[in-house]
Assembly symmetry: D2
Homo-oligomer: 335 residues x 4
Amino acid sequence: MTRVAILGGTGYTALELLKILARHSSAKVTAITSRTETSPIREIHPSLAGRFDLSLENLSPQQLKERADVVFCCLPHVASMEAVPGLLEVGLKVIDLSADYRLKDPEVYAKWYGHAHTDVGRLSSAVYGLPELYRDRIRGTNLIANPGCYTSTSILALAPLIQRGLVEPTGIIIDAKSGVSGAGRTPKQNILFAECNESFGAYSVGNHRHQPEIEQILSESSGHKVDVIFTPHLTPMDRGIEATIYAVPKAKATQQELLEVCRAFYQESPFVRVVDRIPTTKDSAYTNFFDMTIRIVKDRVVILACLDNLIKGASGVAIQNFNLMYGYPETDGLL
Amino acid sequence: MTRVAILGGTGYTALELLKILARHSSAKVTAITSRTETSPIREIHPSLAGRFDLSLENLSPQQLKERADVVFCCLPHVASMEAVPGLLEVGLKVIDLSADYRLKDPEVYAKWYGHAHTDVGRLSSAVYGLPELYRDRIRGTNLIANPGCYTSTSILALAPLIQRGLVEPTGIIIDAKSGVSGAGRTPKQNILFAECNESFGAYSVGNHRHQPEIEQILSESSGHKVDVIFTPHLTPMDRGIEATIYAVPKAKATQQELLEVCRAFYQESPFVRVVDRIPTTKDSAYTNFFDMTIRIVKDRVVILACLDNLIKGASGVAIQNFNLMYGYPETDGLL
Amino acid sequence: MTRVAILGGTGYTALELLKILARHSSAKVTAITSRTETSPIREIHPSLAGRFDLSLENLSPQQLKERADVVFCCLPHVASMEAVPGLLEVGLKVIDLSADYRLKDPEVYAKWYGHAHTDVGRLSSAVYGLPELYRDRIRGTNLIANPGCYTSTSILALAPLIQRGLVEPTGIIIDAKSGVSGAGRTPKQNILFAECNESFGAYSVGNHRHQPEIEQILSESSGHKVDVIFTPHLTPMDRGIEATIYAVPKAKATQQELLEVCRAFYQESPFVRVVDRIPTTKDSAYTNFFDMTIRIVKDRVVILACLDNLIKGASGVAIQNFNLMYGYPETDGLL
Amino acid sequence: MTRVAILGGTGYTALELLKILARHSSAKVTAITSRTETSPIREIHPSLAGRFDLSLENLSPQQLKERADVVFCCLPHVASMEAVPGLLEVGLKVIDLSADYRLKDPEVYAKWYGHAHTDVGRLSSAVYGLPELYRDRIRGTNLIANPGCYTSTSILALAPLIQRGLVEPTGIIIDAKSGVSGAGRTPKQNILFAECNESFGAYSVGNHRHQPEIEQILSESSGHKVDVIFTPHLTPMDRGIEATIYAVPKAKATQQELLEVCRAFYQESPFVRVVDRIPTTKDSAYTNFFDMTIRIVKDRVVILACLDNLIKGASGVAIQNFNLMYGYPETDGLL
């Protein structure tokens, strides 16, 4: 049994982590922290009533160390890199769900997040927590940079064809759509029900922070300099990301051949489903599955990919990483 | 042509007023105010682009008087009763969409709104702006207290049968459901999309502020002391209120007879539709119609009623009142 | 390991059963039937890809008996009572999710379902599958009549206070609201997205088939003749039922006392959460929990109750019944 | 006053036409037809109660001619081209909302609609009813081919930059998203609420019928052979289309210059709003406005465009065409 603490328990990623951990055969949640709240967790997340009796606490790294083996850090960026070093120093393992350890280059971080990185030394050793690409590295690390939701969708969709040299690594267009839970739980006018419901639109066109993350990981993992245009859209639903991706073919291949390449690429990955039909977000909602298919349209390869932004795009993959780090079955808690 | 100003232009009731006024044959919007914003109205409400070129301004009553004949006051309660006296004093007519002039008894106001009333003298002269009950009074007034959305639904549904002595005035249960726009546009966690969507639940059970308003108007208009249990619920949709109302019959009457009583009661009211089928909120969404029907179930009369909370429940009825005050056709701008 | 077959695999209750069974420690799905389809189950329910490799088959009772120990019958009413006798006769246990074995009186069945009952002999021996009331009977039976979704909500909310004599058994008003999945997966105009979305309204007022079921079980379990007015409403969401219930108090008791009575009543029931706050459907969505609270408003006891119509209201409770029948932990597969 | 008949009154486009016509200063609806229904229109579309007293009738062209000057044909494709010739022959004007007269080449029609065209002679004379491109032709015709919803969105977004030579006419990617009302009112499983809600996904990738229509009109109006990849997606909302369009720039121009080109192009078009902010579908929902903006991202021009699929994408533009045909103000009924 591994003892688990959640750092920052009031948001949606903490909620989803806790729901999954309630089902896990070998994890026990021993602490949930907040700097401001002391309520029982069931008052913050009523759906957890009857599943967890814990209350939120403000705990030091040392106190956490006494209670837990590993910390899932659900703080926002900046706050995360202020907290993580102390956790690692007392000997805790950390799975960080923020963006703070994802980008390897501190200047890229500073440019996109508007804040100098304060823990530059750990950027190179933190492991990017995408198990389908980095299963081995994840097994051996103490610090996971859990991927962004749009990022996972885009990378998992593109990695096989880029790595196998079947599409050009540049000129890629990623038209992505997300449910509103991706925007978090802090009240803002643009995510009010009466603003988002019955509304669909793009945002952060050409300047969303997941773009450099997509490019970094796809470049690093393929050995090619990957360049994408990334356009996110807000969709009136709770859960789910869909990405429709347009890439230029580099070699002649049929749709079936491309699908087979992807199936082979992911044959050891229990949460990737390369399907024939066009996936919808509902197929993978409330699961840790990533679904994708491929069509060839005129002179383009069109990849259609879906996942649940809070599970496979955040808390589910975090548990998948946890399972790998501790040698548990990769699917524990996630089926 | 009547010159119209909107006091407090950033919320949903102001937006709906402006959409209706854009269609009105005899109204011209000359000013929209805000104490804090100076943006063009199209930046606050993008749907108004191409319809209004005005920008928000902070205007004194005297400045408003130079530009307008009548002011629609869209401020929150308390702020409204601070602003209205000054508007009336310079000779403007006022249609107040807040709750501040609805309750006749200042102690009831203080109890339910948690604030002493600061303009008690006008409570008796303000006219409750429900045209179906008070058409004549509305024609002659300078100050309209525009009704609450749940209130209009409940009163219009019950007034005919109570006034005609066909149901008991006490022991009435009003189980009401509202779309989320009724909660306004100020960011709060409970009205975030990811909280409300795919969620339904009651709130303010036994202590919603529209209960005393319903009881006051139904009592005053029927001459009986009316007593209701009122339970509001938040429904995952933008628009609409549905009320399912359970009353005890006082006299023997068939469903058809009760429907005919209602039809006769509302025969001069162009926006009331007494229908045979069970109405849904979609039937009246984006219109100024109020729909109702009646069923007899065991020992109860069940009334089912719907309207659009922002139109017939707020801004539409405000224009209906405006039309009556200025002698325009009651339906101008509203079909 | 218990071998499980699903009879009628194309609808939503079968889908939810399969999702739960995928997590169950001691159940193995060995067959899924359809009279018309032979597709892989992942084509009927894309979300099951990667979880089940079975295809739909048209199997006789004898064939089912070779493969399974127990059958979850997901056929519509009438079809169910045509199939169930054959299953029992070959020695299978049956958990029937239709309405066919819920009502004890065949005349009541014929009146509400418009069809003579064709297996009257089993009506008395079938056990109503509401574990919170009938845990012991469930343990020993071969035929479960799994409850209706509105019915479970209403009964669980009312049973403690009626059985303890704290509210009158008559004059009860149940104002219930359901997500659209409760209407099934057969295409009909009234459940199209563009009809239901942004719409709320009542239906089957005074004549919904769950009313006699609620009355039968509450009467039988309390020893009082229970009489309810039941009004269902369709709500624009996938999942969830909320019931706001108005009852007349029979004895003096505070809100806290009533809550304590309910907590005591359900202390052995792991899926009932008697909470202080007003529950919403989102709190229990995608879980097997039933949530309730109580308020006293004027001269009424108001009970507010929620559950997920497809889980605790259908497939989840079916698994709970299965667990009891086979001696597995009541929560297996359901947390 | 122009007398108007609706051919095929049961669907959503007929409903929206009737709502607009109720507000029109110079149109009177005199007949609504159906081959199967004879109900009052308020039973088919409850929202029309109190607005229209007509019942559905099965009328011959000659009978229609006695009652009406112009017919809005709301039949499905194929049915439309069977009905339109008879209407024109008795001297009625026709605005056809189906696809039957949009494509000029009968072989293209046959390929995409799977049916030989049966009124080939009129394909060349029918006028494509997109007022922003063909205002003059529309004024003089008796037969309007009203455009498709995705088509209008795409053409209005691209026409200025293609015609002015600012983007390449080939290699254009149109990633489009539509609300569910675009799929019509005939019950099918894929448009059930419980299937579409909380779901987003692509469909008809590379083979949607609006693709050849977009290419034909953009090519014809610009004099360049235009070639697009068009990907439609179904979005969980009633109304609205958003298109995110990726084009390769042909000349150097800033975002502001491109926006100014579009503003100049549409300066006589009262329903086009070229805005600075990124539009959402809610901005134009329930209106006849088309909203667009432009961003330059890396080596692409990204156009973001929205309209209401049932209004500007169908029934609203049909009324705009009607206004032009009869010399009424272009905005009559539409503000």
